[in-house]
Each structure stands twice: as C-alpha cells, then as structure tokens.
C-alpha cells in the first residue's frame, strides 16, 4: 500500500494554489491535512498526478470573530478550531462536533476545509455547515465567490467545487442567543464514522414557542441532509415530546437512506428518526437552561 507517483508543489498562499490549479487543472488535487486523501492514495484508489500542498501556507490556522458568526480559514486544523476560545464560547455545538471527528492524532493534521471538501456524508463538519447556515468562500485564479453550504454537497465525496477552485474559508453563523443544541450519533466504536447522526438547534420566543429550528442528519444518505420539513413543523409550535416525535416522522420523507456493510437503509431510516427526537429533546432542554 504505497501511493503512486505524483508531482508535488508547496503552495505559499491560496493565490499561489489557485494559480497552480489553473495550470494543472483536472490532474491536480489540493492537499491540506491529507487525512482522507493520503489514505485513499496509499490504497491507490486516488492517483492524482499533481498535488498542491496548502498545509504550509503562511498562518494556515486562522479563526476570526465576525458579527454574525465565526470565520474559519479552510486550512485551520480541526484541533486548533476545537480548542479555540472564541469557537468554544460562541459555537459550542461546533466544538462538540469537532470532538467527534476520528481521533486527536487525526484532528492535529486534518483541516476544517479538508473535511468539508472531502464531503463524506458521515462526517461531522459538512453536517455542521448545514446546521449553522455556513457560507463557503471559494476562490479560483479567475474569480472569488461565496456559496451557501446548502448548495455545496452533491453526493458522496462530490461537491459543487470546480476543479480549479479552492475553498478559502468557512463562515459558521451563530444561531440565536439562548438557543439549545444537541448532537447524537451512533458509531460502532468511538472515533468511527457515524452509522447515523443527527444534530439540532432550537430557540424559543418569549411565550415559549419554537422560534427557530435546525435539524440535520448525517451518515444516513449520500450527503448530509438538512430536514427543513421537520423544522417547518416545529416553528411556531409549543415544543413537546409528542411534537418532536410527530416531526421526526418526516425524516423518512427527507432522506434517501443507504445500506452498507454495517447496517441496512431501513436501520438508518429508523434510527435517524430516533436520534432526531433525541437531539430535539436535548436541544430544547438546553434552551430552557440557557436563559
């Protein structure tokens, strides 16, 4: 299990990386933390002819506090994000998710952007992107644009990112103050990809009705899924276990569950419902204690 040959370029900046991409086009791949890419290359499943390494650009890890949320430079390692005081203070749910990613040795090298671009539907950060209405700052040699996380994920390991584009930064938006949140996942062992995962955020208005809801499922279908149908049923309602169970029933309408060597699509469908109820209930309990 040794990787095939490739040409290696160490990018000094994102601009430099884009420039290199524009030259090498489809044959080139961006190498950030490499925690998924290098494994695939060792198996020779992945054989890019050119690697553009952005892990050594100037201050790769950068986290900036912005009015409506937190901007994380794509090359920031998951470990840095996980331990960042601002993130811990404003986006505790993101910290929770980061702690669920593989093992600390992986998070020391794996990057926030890398995990998102790798677009494994079972991994946590794509799901968090949907949960936190994230916006992706994307750049190529010729242009820059911003894309909502919602429009980004197409299927397994396939995203809207063009072959000449680089993900530069991610803006994770801060949910309403006093919101409650929760993340639940079933994995066979600690650190494994989730067989099924669910995350939720709930905020209440003054008279205790649900004013804001986000429900996301991961590890279930070929992409992470935001369950708007579930959210719609909650907003404006008085939250209760019954309501949550009612709402969670819609999960099956939203997700096209997949089977694998561990569990069947049916298992994924049912457990997605179960975990959604749990996330919602825990989120609610945290809202009440929040204010």
């Amino acid at each position: 299990m040794k990787p095939a040959n490739f040409e290696y370029f160490r990018a000094t900046s994102i601009d430099h990386a884009c420039e290199l991409l524009s030259v090498h086009g489809d044959d080139a791949k961006i190498l950030a933390g490499g925690q998924s890419l290098i494994a695939a290359m060792n198996y020779r499943l992945a054989r890019p002819q050119v690697l553009i390494d952005i892990s050594n650009i100037d201050n790769p890890s950068e986290i900036t506090d912005e009015i409506n949320g937190i901007r994380v430079k794509a090359t920031t390692t998951q470990a840095v994000a996980e331990h960042d005081p601002v993130v811990r203070d404003r986006l505790p749910m993101l910290v929770d998710a980061l702690e669920h990613i593989a093992h600390f040795q992986i998070r020391n090298k794996g990057t926030v952007g890398g995990s998102i671009v790798n677009a494994d539907p079972a991994s946590e950060l794509p799901a968090m992107s949907l949960l936190l209405d994230a916006e992706y700052e994307i750049q190529s040699a010729s242009n820059k644009h911003v894309m909502a996380a919602e429009d980004f994920f197409i299927t397994y390991m396939t995203t809207a990112l063009q072959s000449d584009e680089v993900l530069v930064s991610i803006l994770f938006k801060e949910p309403p103050k006093n919101c409650g949140w929760a993340l639940h996942e079933v994995a066979r062992r600690a650190g494994d990809y989730a067989l099924v995962g669910s995350a939720a955020i709930i905020a209440l208005d003054d008279d205790g009705k649900c004013a804001y809801a986000r429900v996301v499922l991961f590890g279930v279908a070929s992409t992470p899924v935001r369950a708007k149908e579930v959210e719609e049923l909650l907003v404006g309602q008085i939250c209760s276990d019954e309501l949550f169970e009612e709402a969670a029933k819609r999960v099956s309408e939203v997700v096209d569950a997949e089977s694998d060597v561990h569990v069947t699509d049916e298992y994924r469908g049912n457990v997605a419902e179960v975990l959604t109820v749990r996330s919602l209930a825990d989120a609610l309990s945290r809202t009440q204690t929040a204010s």
Partner: protein
C-alpha cells in the same frame, strides 16, 4: 503415566508476578521486527493478486510490466520450478490435501490469491509494476455460503474432487435417539458465527537471503520457526541443516502465524533465483484478504433437556467453511473437528452424536486463531442452552450447576473421549458470580432512567490446552507435537535456556527463565532464554494452542532438573557431603541445617569445567553442565468463566459494555501478571468476535471490508477494565502442574455478551436469543424487531 517432577526447593520464582525482561528494548523502539532488519542490497517484492473469487486465467499479460525500467523480475507459476504446495506431512493420510499452490495456475479460487511476484528496488516501485500486469479471466460462479457450495449441482472449486465437501465424518456415543425421545424439551437451532481474522498489529513479513556457502537464512513473522524450516526444506528440496529460520520480534500471531503460507516459500526461492536478499512486508489489505481467516461455522445444534435442566443428549451438525483451500499444517478441518470433539464442554452429556462436514468456498482459507473451534462450537451449544433455560424458566446458572462435571469426578472422560485432568467448575462459577454481583444484578429492574436496558450475562468454558500429540489426538488431529529444551550452565554458573518455543508477546523469555531459576535454584538474572532462531534454539514446534507454559515450561523443568542433579552430585563430592543433604538457593549450595558449609553454584560450575583434580572422575560424572530434554505431555484442560454487564439502547441497538469479570483456572501459574495479560487480551478478542468482527463477502466473492475502517477490532473505548481472578487446581499430569492459559481467555466472552443481551431483552416476548456473531446494532435491532413490544412480567 510417569509421575511429574516435584519442583525442589522453596518457590522463589514460580508464581512471582515479575515484570518482563523483553520489555525495555521494545519500549525504547529497539526491538527488531522483520521489516526492521536491513541487509545491504535487499530488493522488495509485491504480489499481483487475483481480483476474482473464482475464475480461469485465460491470459496473463506481463509485457507492459516487464517494460518498466526498474522491473528486476516477475515470477509466476511458469518459472516456479519447486514443488507447488504448502503441504506439511502432519495430518491424516486419507484426507484429500486441497493444497494452496504457491502461485495460481490455471484458475484462481479466492480474491487475493497470488498470481505473480514482482521484484523491484522498492515496494513503491514494485507496486507501480504490479499495476501494469493484466489478466484476462473467464469467471466461474463463486461460493460465499457453505450451504450453496454443498449443493450437488455446485461448480467444483477443485476439479479433482467430486464435491466441494472434502471431509465428512460422524461420531456417536450412547443412545441419542432414546435420549431425545424421552426428553422434556428439545431445542434445535441453526447458529452461524462470523468470519474473522486474528489481525495481529504486525502483518506477516518474510525476508530471505542466501550465503556464499549456499546456506539459506529466512526471517519470518512466524509462530513456528522449526516446522517452517522443515517445511521449506521439504518443499524447496533443500537439505534442512543448511537452512536457518529466524523469527525476530514478532508483533502478535494468535494462531494465524502458526501456518505455512506461500510467501514463506516464494521469497527464499526468489532470493536464490536472483542471488540477492529479498523482502516482502504484507500490507493491511493483503492481510485481510490473504492471511488465514477463522471461526466461520454453520452449526445445527440440537440438545435434549429434562425439566430440571439436565442435558440428556446432544446432536450436532457442524459445517466448517474451509475457504478455497486447506490451510496447513492444521488443515481446513481445524474449526469443525476441534469444535465437535470438544462439544460437551464442562458438562456430562451421556448421549451425543455429531456430524462434521468441511466444505470449500471462494474465500481465503480458514486456519487457527485463538480458541480454534471452541469459540464457534461453544457459542452454538451455549446459545441453545440459554434458550432452553428461558423456556424452562431457569437461570442458565441452574443448568450449569445441574450438568457440571463435579470436582470429585476427575479425571473424567467425556462422551467424546477427552480425558479432563482437573478442575473445580462449581468453585470457579461461584467466584465469577460473586465478583460480578450476578444474582443481585438479576434482581434489579432492567430499565434504566435514560431508557436503556441493563443486562448481565455469564458463561463458562473448558479449554483443552498444551497441544502435544495427545491433546491433538483428543481433538481429532493425528498430529505429532512435542518440544525440546537445552539447559546449559556455563563455567561461571550462568544459565542459557535454548528453547523450541517462541515468544511473540507471551513473555516466554521471562516465564521460562522463572521456571529455570526455580528448578536450578539460581537468581533470575543469571538465566537467559534463547528462542526464535533455529541457529541457537532447540527443535520445537513453537508457540500456539496454549502449549508453551506447559510443554516449554515442562521441558525446562526436565532439563534443569538434570543439570541440578549433576550440580549436586559434583557439589557433594567437592563438599564431602551427601547429595541428598544439599540445598540450592539463589546460587548458593549449602548443607541442610548448616548454612556455613556452603559453596556458590559458580564455584562448582567452574570446578566442573576446569578443575579435573577437584571434580569427580569423568567415568563417575561427565564434565560440563548441560542437559537436553523433551516433552510431549498428556492433555490438560483449563477452565474458567466470564461475566459481562451491558447497557443496551433498544432504539439503536447499541450495546455498551459496563463490566467484564474473568475467572480462570490454568493450574499453577508461573507468572500471574502474564496470565492476567493473557486473560485481558483474550477477553478483548472474544468481545471483538462477539460484537464487531466480520469479514463480509458479497455473492460474487468480493471481500467488502478489506480495511481497518470497516473490519473493526476493539479499541480502548469498546471495553471497560477487566477484573481478573484465579482458582488454582494444579494438573496432576503435567510437569509443574501447569495448564495452558492463552486461548481460554477468549472462549466464553462472546457467550457472556450474548447472555447479557438475552437478559437485557428478557422482558420482551421471546425468548430473544441471538444465533449469530457478531452482534452489531443491526443484529440487535433484527432480534428486537422479530417480536412484539415489551410486556410487563
């Protein structure tokens, strides 16, 4: 039967939990595993392996690959002149050998079978070249399930056989039909156990080089250096004394490395052809595809019970899944034959009959892995017993107690003709129940506040240990197994133990030294154990099948006793005392009662070698202090019990292991700390089999989880601490009263786990008893969903 040797003197070393002498170099990263050994000019080998499970090779195209500038050579069956078998003359003659060729010729029979070997300057380049090899296949139907492969119209995996079944035998004792007709309850189930892999952290690896004088040195990550040496000699037609096999530090084996694999013959042969050292290090994907698999059986288990839980009869059909070949030296019979011969376990089963069938499939062949046969066989028996307990409204404990062989019944010959030497099963079970608060926990409500279900399960096992010829015979294997040890005391009184055993994690360098120090009466630090190198050891079968403490330890006791006696004879002469009055203690020889009349062992040793004027005449006592002894002991049967507490999430099927208790009786312990280590490691592997591990093949014979990402072994959060205890009933048959400990450790963990699951689900309509391993979230939910909702009792 010869009476075992009493260990003389005060026990200063045996039974002491001393730390292991092999550890410091490992902890400093200085231990050398095969891939750490460097020889100048070593070339690397990568194999081109079949991507098809069952196909004829129409055309093998090497041209592209050979054009690669760095391609040194590509070997295939065509160039492989040596006899193409991995057969070792060590099993029943009547059995069709179903040999695995070194290189596939004509057809391939499993995904991962070797078709060609590429030699290149580095593994990276070798893999580049492997990528350039092309094959045209004509595919044939592939068989994943034995019961499909057994069909009369099934395509033959080996055309020289009449059927894919290459072994079928039956046995009967007592009046089974009568027992079943008179029983109050008969429980019949089909049980299937998952295919797993020992998956040691170090994969296999082989390096070979030829000397200027035509001597061959082979480094292999093996558990059995001497049998491998003989096998290389036989298969490559080399005279054995010119071969040196070295098993350097080995990163775990668990039985898997106690086989002969094609790579171990191909590498030496290639080294000779290209006249340069060559190395092959197996990668993890290769390992999961083509290092022997284990434990997959399909078992039809029928047990007849009386109302009070008495087992009156047992009827078994065990179909072993051999994979595509018979793996030697043990053959593909190893799982099902061992399972059936040990079927009664700890119980008196007066009437028993079994059928043993071994069938080929298109998967890597099945071989030894810790607890061979018994892991699957015991599981089948126990799940049926557990179901019976629920149907008879008894606790499994009551069925155990009712059917246990009593301690006053030993030696006890089972209905399958195995003679158990010793034990106190009731005592071990009570201990395990007490430590695990079994009865109290059973009284607690199943449901926890957070909607989980609590469960506790217990299980008991008997394990046949110390594979010498007689153990093997009692398990249905006409194999010849024994071991040899040479003990040398040099002129300075220091001791070298040359062993045929081989430690690859078991700490034998420590435990065998403890036995030698004890027997000789010298300080532990004065003893060095040499193992793992045929140039410095003594011919032995190696370390597997819970045999080393007993057979290795026993042969050390024998040889060391000879040296001790000689030492005393000479000392008596020198000290003008009666040998019978002399005592040896920590290197000092003194006359009993008057410690002032003493000499050191070193002084006597020096005299023995260098002072013919002081020592006795040569015709009285031969000079030098060396002895070589052999040992092929009677079978000794260890026993033990596991208890497991779980919390089950009935909505997701997730099982959390809360507590594990392990009680074992392996007779006298040489080093209790090492025994604990075995118990804990075994518990983890048993849990792996019960909870996680399954090599899953699809209908076309593709392994679906050829990575550690999807083939999962336990990690540190899978299991809690493992509470250990020991009950000691020494074996009356073996030197030192030792019984084996290694495999026992994993024999009933998966059973205790399933019993805990059954307990957690005991308020559901049922009884719900899993008849498969492993039990992942999917299997738990399947179990639950086959029933109605929970009902209040």
């Amino acid at each position: 039967m010869k009476k075992p040797i009493e260990i003389a003197g005060v026990t200063k070393h045996i039974g002491v939990p001393r730390k292991r002498s092999e550890d410091p170099q490992i902890l400093m990263g200085q231990a050398k595993y095969v891939d750490d050994i460097k020889l100048p000019g070593t070339l690397e080998v990568a194999f081109f392996r079949s991507t098809h499970a069952h196909a004829r090779i129409k055309k093998l195209k090497l041209d592209g690959a050979k054009k690669h500038p760095d391609c040194i050579h590509i070997f295939t069956n065509e160039e492989f002149s040596a006899g193409a078998t991995t057969f070792f003359p060590n099993t029943r003659g009547t059995l069709h050998p179903v040999l695995m060729p070194f290189f596939a010729h004509g057809k391939v029979r499993f995904v991962g079978e070797i078709i060609a070997a590429v030699v290149a300057p580095s593994r990276y380049i070798a893999e580049d070249i492997v990528d350039l090899i092309e094959v045209e296949y004509a595919t044939l139907p592939a068989y994943n399930d034995v019961e499909d492969a057994m069909q009369p119209d099934a395509v033959l995996i080996h055309e020289d056989l009449e059927s894919n079944v290459y072994y079928a035998d039956s046995f009967s004792n007592g009046d089974v039909d009568k027992a079943f007709s008179e029983a109050d309850l008969v429980v019949s189930e089909k049980i299937t156990t998952g295919r797993t892999s020992a998956a040691p952290m170090e994969t296999r690896g082989v390096m070979a080089t030829w000397g200027w004088d035509d001597t061959l040195t082979v480094w292999s990550s093996t558990q059995m250096p001497y049998p491998l040496r003989t096998s290389i000699a036989v298969n490559l037609g080399i005279s054995e004394q010119t071969i040196r096999v070295v098993a350097p530090t080995v990163g775990g084996g668990f039985g898997q490395k106690a086989h002969f694999f094609p790579e171990e013959f191909i590498l030496p042969w290639i080294a000779k052809e290209i006249k340069q050292p060559v190395k092959w290090i197996e990668d993890r994907r290769e390992h999961l595809l083509s290092a022997s698999h284990a434990k997959q059986c399909t078992i039809y288990m029928n047990i007849a019970f009386m109302k009070d839980g008495t087992m009156v009869g047992m009827k078994i059909k065990n179909i072993g899944d051999s994979g595509a070949y018979s793996q030697y030296p043990w053959s593909g019979l190893i799982e099902s034959v061992a399972a059936n011969n040990g079927a009664p376990g700890a119980f008196t089963v007066p009437n028993i009959s079994f059928e043993t069938v071994v069938c080929l499939t298109n998967k890597m062949s099945t071989g030894a892995y810790r607890g061979v046969g018994w892991s699957a066989g015991c599981y089948a028996r126990e799940m049926v017993m557990t179901k019976a307990a629920r149907l008879l409204d008894l606790d499994i404990i009551e069925i155990y107690r009712k059917n246990f062989i009593r301690h006053d019944e030993f030696p006890y010959t089972t209905s399958t003709n195995q003679t158990y030497d010793s034990g106190d099963y009731h005592k071990v079970l009570e201990k395990c129940m007490e430590m695990s608060d079994y009865e109290d926990t059973k009284k607690q409500p199943r449901s926890t506040k957070d909607g989980k279900l609590r469960g506790v399960g217990i299980a008991f096992f008997v394990e046949q240990t110390n594979w010498g010829s007689r153990s093997a015979e009692e398990s249905g294997f006409p194999a010849t197994l024994h071991d040899t040890t040479t003990v040398e005391m040099d002129p300075t009184g220091k001791v070298t133990v040359r062993s045929g055993q081989f430690s690859h994690g078991q700490g034998l360098k420590t435990t065998l030294a403890q036995v030698a120090a004890e027997t000789l009466g010298v300080p532990f630090d004065d003893v060095v154990v040499l193992d793992g190198d045929t140039a410095t050891g003594a011919y032995g079968m190696g370390t597997f099948a819970s045999r080393s403490a007993v057979i290795g330890g026993g042969s050390v006791i024998r040889a060391a006793t000879d040296v001790r006696n000689k030492l005393l004879t000479i000392a008596a002469h020198v000290m003008e005392a009666n040998a019978a009055d002399l005592e040896i203690d920590e290197g000092k020889i003194y006359v009993k009662g008057s410690p002032d009349r003493s000499m050191t062992v070193a002084e006597i040793a020096y005299i023995t070698y260098y002072d013919r004027f002081t020592r006795p005449d040569e015709d009285e006592v031969e000079p030098t202090l060396t002895a070589t002894r052999h040992y092929d002991p009677p079978a000794a049967y260890a026993n033990g019990s596991h208890a497991i507490h779980i919390e089950l999430d009935p909505q997701t099927g997730k099982v959390d292991i809360k507590r594990i208790v392990a009680v074992e009786d392996c007779g006298n312990m040489i080093n209790p700390k090492v025994v604990d280590g075995q118990m804990r490691g075994g518990a983890s592997q048993g849990l792996g089999m019960g909870l996680l591990e399954s090599l899953d093949y699809d209908e076309s014979g593709q392994l679906k989880n050829a990575s550690f990402m999807d083939f999962m072994i336990p990690n540190a959060t899978t299991l809690p601490d493992i509470e250990c205890a020991h009950i000691v009933t020494p074996s009356p048959y073996t030197e030192g009263g030792f019984k084996g400990a290694g495999e026992a450790a994993m024999l009933s963990v998966h059973i205790a786990l399933s019993n805990a699951l059954v307990d957690a689900l005991s308020e559901y309509d049922g009884p719900l008893v899993p008849m498969v391993t492993p039990i992942g979230p999917q299997q738990v939910m399947d179990l639950i969903n086959n029933t109605n909702q929970p009902q209040a009792r």
